[in-house]
Symmetry: C2
Amino acid sequence: MSPRRSPETPWPTDVELQILQVLWQGGPSTVREVHETLYAGEGAGYTTALKMLQIMHAKGLVERDDSQRAHVYKAGITKQRTQKRYMADMVQRLFNGSASQMVLHALGSHPPASREELKEIRTLLSKIESGD
Amino acid sequence: MSPRRSPETPWPTDVELQILQVLWQGGPSTVREVHETLYAGEGAGYTTALKMLQIMHAKGLVERDDSQRAHVYKAGITKQRTQKRYMADMVQRLFNGSASQMVLHALGSHPPASREELKEIRTLLSKIESGD
DNA sequence: GGCAATATACGAAATCATTCGTTGACGGTG
DNA sequence: CACCGTCAACGAATGATTTCGTATATTGCC
């Protein structure tokens, strides 16, 4: 009956997050594509990317289509959900659970560049203020 | 000429961050105090806390007064600066450098509880809008 | 069929974070 | 002085992450 309780994917590590970014950005990709995008020329070798994707598959962080010879991997968790998860964790661990404190920090350190962004934030604030 | 380039402290790990929280919260503390606060009854043993503080001292994450038998440790980095650093990193790695996107996420997932917080955010927005 | 290119799979090394056990020093109390 | 509790120091075990080398399978092509 509960709406959608995923089996709780583990936290992506740093490298895993980089790979997820590639998949979020470029969509389902082969190992080669991920490797080219992430380590173009420099960086880790092909088998490293392969191993990482295999590990991530075992963890449920990516899904795999192995119907072709070159398996195709796609993100197993959405960018949205991951962002939310990291945010919640950071709020808890670093801002004593106060999202507002974090927002103030964010706006103070990295003020929004565009007028549209400011407007978006104001709109959301109003929505919250009016009781959602 | 550059204003104040600290020798770039390494990122605190999870456990290290917990310890820093204790020091930020309770001020300079002995190993015993940190241990009691963090692992009261449950959790890691005393020597683990000691070892962690020694490691953190070697990394420059904490400072130490060893003039007494029970050494006194205090945070070597401020909470403010650490918050800012984590934020910047997260914005870069998870929000494509857009702080606004992160703010929207934060406000969407964890709306501010109090009216004061909302007001604070609005005030900061105005300040930003008026060209700082 | 045999070869070259490209793929997956697997195991192992290197590094780091975390935890603990043990040792030796210090300090107060009887 | 001898004892007991507390302390710092150190080394080592464990587990996770990341990297790579090697083995093996598949495909297309001559």
